[in-house]
Symmetry: C2
Subunit: 494 residues, 2 copies
């Protein structure tokens, strides 16, 4: 066995344990009894450090050096090898103790967040968040020595490799400048629009049935995945065991249905990854930015289009009976209603980027030392008023406590949402250039063409290319904001 083949065997075992880790993460959010949290956090920390030990085993380092000088890599194997090298170096930079401390702290903070957010209890949440931030800084500091990046850039690199504070500053300032005046125009245009709210109780069982119908139509493979319910929608598992969740409200079916559409986008990506590279680094999703682009492409570009409502409306009537609100025109108006609001995950797609830019600004201030964690609520409120004209004063639960990311240690994640959103528009616009008649197929609920195209152009390429190279390969260009802006103008101002 060549050194590289030995490496592949080791990374296959690592991938096995990572798959189990993701199933256990799903279990923690969906199934685990509440009293098991502490014990589970310890056990997961042990599993994580076991994986880390496998990654940083001296033998791995030695095999990497041997393989580097002996192996004749083709394109895929070279990319795979480079990921092995990077993962080994990064893992080696984090002491096992820190890794365990981080895993446990993040799980405990996440569990505390669930309790304390409901009570709007910022004071008791503060120490958890401070601890998360301290540990993440220590972690970023270690990694920065390998990557030769600033602390915040280390974290950006984790979720959107190839991007950094400078490139994101450029993109986000362009985006903010374009979006703010558009919001004003859209608000004026929509001011006198009349919309019928859907009314009634929408039994959860029926929402679930409808969700399953949509997942099937969108191409979800139920032999290798499932739908469940959780506090917040998410997707986990992996290519052969893709699990998505949503949350239900009896009085409104939109949150559950769009949660499902979004997470189905994630799952389609996972299920479309190259099977021959299943257990190797190059066979994983390209990055979280690309992952979010695929969920947002399905949710925002496809499932919020007027054509989609022509497909959806009869299905809604079938499940919930007819009512005045159930016309494609009205439902489309409901979904494309722009309204500056407090909660990121409930925001419309026009104001959404501002929620992300706000978090990005605060993260920059935190990492530059300009502010500290305890200053967050005041700064949050300030920027919310500035960007969206709404205040979160003393309303922590709908302000700084609304997201799980910070307590769970995922500082630097937020930009990936908006980068992903921009990527989604850019990729979908290329797809529509190739297939200008696709609207008609959405109307029929036939997503096979799109599915196949995304599989061929995005999913099946795994982590072969960087975000930028992949985007350029698919669309001919690096990331631009213009496709997204074009989309907003088309959907909201024509």
């Amino acid at each position: 066995m060549t050194p590289y083949h030995q490496l592949k065997k080791i990374f296959k075992k690592i991938s096995h344990l990572q798959y189990l880790q993701r199933i256990l993460m799903w279990d923690e959010s969906v199934m685990m009894p509440i009293g098991s949290g502490n014990h589970r956090a310890s056990a997961i920390a042990t599993l994580n450090s076991t994986i880390q030990k496998m990654l940083i085993n001296k033998k791995v380092k030695k095999l990497i050096e041997l393989a580097r000088h002996t192996e004749n890599f083709d394109e895929w194997n070279l990319a795979n090898f480079n990921w092995m090298d990077k993962q080994n170096k990064l893992a080696a930079s984090i002491p096992t103790k820190l890794n365990e401390k981080m895993t446990k702290a993040s799980l405990l903070a996440e569990q505390a967040w669930r309790q304390l957010r409901a009570k709007n209890d910022w004071q008791n949440f503060l120490p958890y968040l401070e601890k998360s931030f301290e540990i993440v800084k220590e972690y970023a500091d270690r990694r920065s020595q390998v990557l030769n990046l600033s602390l915040y850039d280390v974290l950006i690199d984790e979720y959107a490799p190839g991007f950094n504070q400078t490139s994101i500053d450029n993109i986000f300032s362009e985006l903010k400048n374009a979006i703010l005046p558009l919001i004003q125009k859209i608000l004026i245009k929509q001011e006198n629009e009349t919309v019928n709210q859907s009314i009634g109780a929408f039994p959860i069982e029926k929402q679930k049935l409808l969700g399953l119908q949509l997942m099937k139509a969108l191409g979800f493979d139920f032999q290798h995945g499932r739908l469940d319910e959780s506090h917040h929608p998410f997707s986990s598992g992996g290519p052969l065991d893709a699990r998505i969740t949503t949350r239900y409200r009896e009085d409104d079916f939109f949150p559950a249905i769009f949660g499902i559409c979004h997470e189905t986008g994630h799952a389609l990506y996972e299920q479309g990854l190259p099977k021959q590279w299943l257990n190797q680094p190059v066979g994983k999703v390209n990055s979280m930015a690309m992952h979010e682009s695929q969920s947002l492409l399905i949710e925002m570009e496809v499932c919020c289009s007027f054509s989609f409502f022509e497909f959806l409306t009869p299905l809604l009537c079938e499940q919930f009976g007819q009512q005045d609100a159930f016309t494609s025109e009205n439902l489309y108006k409901l979904v494309t209603k722009v309204r500056p609001s407090l909660i990121r995950v409930d925001a419309d797609e026009v104001t959404y980027p501002l929620h992300v830019i706000l978090r990005y600004e605060l993260e920059k201030e935190l990492f530059s030392g300009k502010i500290s964690i305890k200053d967050l609520p005041a700064r949050w409120d300030e920027l919310m008023v500035q960007y969206l004209g709404v205040s979160t004063k003393e309303n922590y639960k709908d302000g700084v406590m609304q997201d799980v990311h910070w307590p769970s240690g995922a500082f630097g994640y937020f930009p990936a949402y908006t980068l992903g959103r921009l990527i989604a528009s850019q990729i979908f616009s290329t797809f529509k250039n190739f297939h200008p008649g696709f609207e008609q197929q959405i109307r029929m609920g036939d997503f096979q063409l799109l599915n196949n195209w995304l599989r061929e152009n995005v999913y099946s390429r795994g982590s072969l290319l960087s975000v930028d190279d992949l985007l350029t390969k698919i669309t001919g260009n690096s990331l631009k904001i213009e496709h997204f802006i074009e989309h907003i103008k088309n959907r909201y101002l024509t």
Copy 2:
């Protein structure tokens, strides 16, 4: 840190991974999408071999030798240390390759069994079973060199440590001789009894509600456990995350309810284990024989008693409405109806031991080389006719294919059920000597006294003592069949 403290740290990590392993085993049976089976089997095999490597790490062996000569153990720590030593020796006897092969083969055979049993397809099942048997023999052979026991005794020791073929031969032949004539007497006594079958559809949701009520009454802690549905009832997880399952039939609530009572017995044991030893070998359940004794004590001694039906009947009426069959007298008659039948898990408690003795006889013949796997259906039929007067000719699914144990590699497990049943009667009879008025509390649905007593006498002792020592400590005697026989006579012939 002393060598023993270092060992405790290592075994804590092992215990963490074993907990995750049990949650993943639960997931595989309850949640996993069907197409993930193969991939999951590989991943679990990797986790198992990871645990094995931690157990047999040279450092562990060295620490054990150091600790043996330096540590002044108290009773609990000595027992804990002896378990560490035994587990290390046993794990070291199994090559990693064999361990992985075994895990994967057993998961795949179990998955095949689910499909092929439904089709009564013995021919395609045969190679799976042959492979399982071959691997188990190889495994037992390796362990036999450490334990200095015969192949079959190695397997018995795994589930009922301290017992062996000789001691079980004695117990089972005594038991068979006592039971066979009793069955004849009971059949004659019950011949002219009239019983009302319960009729109607029993909605699964209501069965589940009733099940949850019973779990609560019996003392199940829902902060640290949950109830789900699976192909076959089982319990998994651990002390802080005890998960039980049952299966539902619309036309009959008994299987689901008694499945729940049985598995609740297992879970109460887990939840009552000594918390201060949570992650150490001595803090685990004593043995599978003792585990089964606790499930059977709750199911058979408590939940099949007449007093229990006085508690249960009003709850049944509440869920399903009144009907002629719903009187305590009639339901008790239904549950205590003795009827020689094909399926072990559906058998009444009087004929049940014969199902186990049959399997025990066949296992002995397999391990002595007297028969081979392909001979099983014919020998099965022969013994079924001899013991119970019913034939399974060409009915493989209700004969040799009915149990998951053999395909999953658990040869040697079956005796633990009947040893457990005998232990249950012996322990419960001691309890009743101390608390002769307990029937009255069952009638009220108050199980706290029993719960506390079992917690104090059984659960909280973990693996401190051998099966025999524990039983002697609680009841004053080694295992005897007389308490069980007495129970059968009291319940069925007075």
